[in-house]
């Protein structure tokens, strides 16, 4: 086990990057699922939910198949860019992002669905394109869901274990985030103390994320809640 500070830094790097990278994707997916009608929507919905249903180990395994040098994505990355995400923090981030995505999409979708369409219509008659109405009305009004989604995603990211260890293994300094360190400690007789210490850090991190997001929601929601 590498030093505590290093583990925490890595966990924040992985969780933060995964959350930020997911945000736009999740919001787009949430918008499409909330507001568009098209055939195959249920299929898209199901694909987004997959990482939630399938055990993390299987998700990790599928990621491994895809990103391994012989895999479809990994092959391209390796041949064209000469990079590999295996055993790297980038790989851990991919695993965390994939696992966090369904939670983020769900929270955001609920909030988007709760936005009154008549306000979007008002924006349109005032000259706003569909996109501007989305960016200036739908998105800001759905902010509580965006923040909730981000917190859920971040919490899930910094708690992600199964997919990460299956996909990129436990490489201290590269992929050994808090959960992986906790797992390693749990495997050892007498590792309890270390487990508690690491778990306490985990909990504190997400508590901070929680408090920050509640404050953001409150700030963002100053004007809202009545037409």
């Amino acid at each position: 086990m590498s030093d505590l500070a290093g583990i925490v830094r890595l966990t924040l790097l992985v969780g933060g990057t995964a959350t930020l990278a997911c945000l736009p994707v999740a919001f787009l997916l949430a918008w499409v699922l909330a507001r568009w009608r098209f055939p195959g929507k249920v299929v898209l919905d199901a694909i987004v939910h997959l990482p939630l249903v399938v055990p993390p180990v299987v998700t990790g395994w599928v990621l491994l198949l895809a990103f391994a040098p012989a895999g479809p994505v990994g092959g391209v990355l390796e041949r064209w860019f000469g990079v590999s995400v295996l055993f790297r923090w980038t790989g851990a981030t991919i695993a965390a992002a994939v696992m966090a995505l369904p939670l983020m999409v769900r929270a955001m979708r609920l909030s988007i669905e709760a936005v009154d369409r008549r306000l979007e219509q008002a924006a349109r008659t005032l000259g706003a394109s569909r996109w501007r109405a989305y960016a200036t009305v739908t998105l800001p009004l759905a902010l509580p869901g965006v923040f909730a989604g981000a917190v859920l995603g971040f919490a899930r990211s910094i708690g992600e274990f199964g997919a990460t260890i299956t996909f990129v293994s436990n490489v201290p300094g590269e992929t050994q985030t808090l959960p992986l360190a906790i797992y390693a400690a749990l495997q050892q007789p007498g590792g309890e103390q270390q487990v508690w210490r690491l778990a306490a850090i985990s909990v504190s991190l997400s508590l901070v994320a929680l408090v920050v997001s509640e404050a953001l929601v409150r700030r963002a929601g100053r004007g809202t809640h009545v037409l």
Binding site: L64, G71, L86, T166, S169, N170, P189
Partner: protein, 231 residues
């Protein structure tokens, strides 16, 4: 017919124990209830007072820990199986025979070396001991990727994510995607043993019968068919 005993078996022993339980049931006994998980998880369940009868561990250290806390029935601990540690690589890879020290390190350290986490999984611990004994660990260590368990390490080699991996012979045996390119000498690491014991809390008389059955020549033959070395 007496009530079935509850047997806690390390995940890597699960299939072999299943076979044994089936055979035991065919012989007219109540089929044991098998609970499997990582040895550490099972040991913690025992520490917590879980109502079980037998424990088959893949990790002698956890068995030691339980023994120190007087959670095992005195005199019931025995070795039920042994294992061997091998190096696997994709088919077509040259054999490592005769390589030691720097030359071994050069080959294994060329790419990521997949093995179970030495900090927590016995297979990894044995691997680290063997490589250290052979003078290659320090050079290889930075390239080691620590998988959650032996099967995951094997999968990394099967999928081309790592050119070499260190796994048990039992795992390597059934995979068509890898070939064994070398076996560690048994004396290069602590003996690979799967200890068995009855729990001090066990009140089920059939538990002792099943324990004896596993250690009997019939039981041992069943384990051998799954690739374990027997006593």
């Amino acid at each position: 017919q007496r009530a079935a005993p509850t047997v806690l078996a390390a995940a890597s022993m699960q299939e072999a124990m299943n076979d044994a339980a089936d055979a035991w049931a065919r012989a007219g006994h109540a089929r044991p209830v098998l609970a499997s998980a990582a040895s550490s998880a099972l040991a913690r369940q025992i520490e917590a007072g879980a109502p079980a009868d037998l424990f088959v561990s893949a990790d002698a250290e956890w068995m030691d820990a339980l023994q120190r806390r007087n959670l095992l029935a005195p005199g019931s601990r025995a070795i039920v199986a042994r294992g061997r540690l091998v190096v696997v690589a994709p088919p077509g890879t040259a054999s490592l025979n005769g390589k030691r020290g720097a030359s071994l390190a050069r080959v294994l350290g060329a790419g990521p070396l997949a093995m179970a986490d030495p900090a927590s999984v016995p297979a990894g611990r044995y691997g680290q001991q063997a490589l250290t004994r052979m003078g290659a660990w320090d050079a290889v260590a930075p390239r080691v990727v620590r998988a959650e368990n032996v099967r995951a390490a094997l999968a990394l080699v099967e999928r081309g994510a790592a050119p070499y991996g260190i796994v048990y012979a039992t795992d390597a045996r059934a995979s068509t995607r890898v070939r064994v390119v070398g076996a560690f000498p048994p004396n290069s690491h602590a003996p690979i043993v799967y200890p068995l014991a009855r729990l001090a809390r066990s009140r089920n008389p059939s538990a002792e019968s099943f324990r004896r059955y596993l250690l009997s020549s019939t039981g041992q033959a069943i384990l051998a068919r799954r690739g374990f070395l027997t006593r």
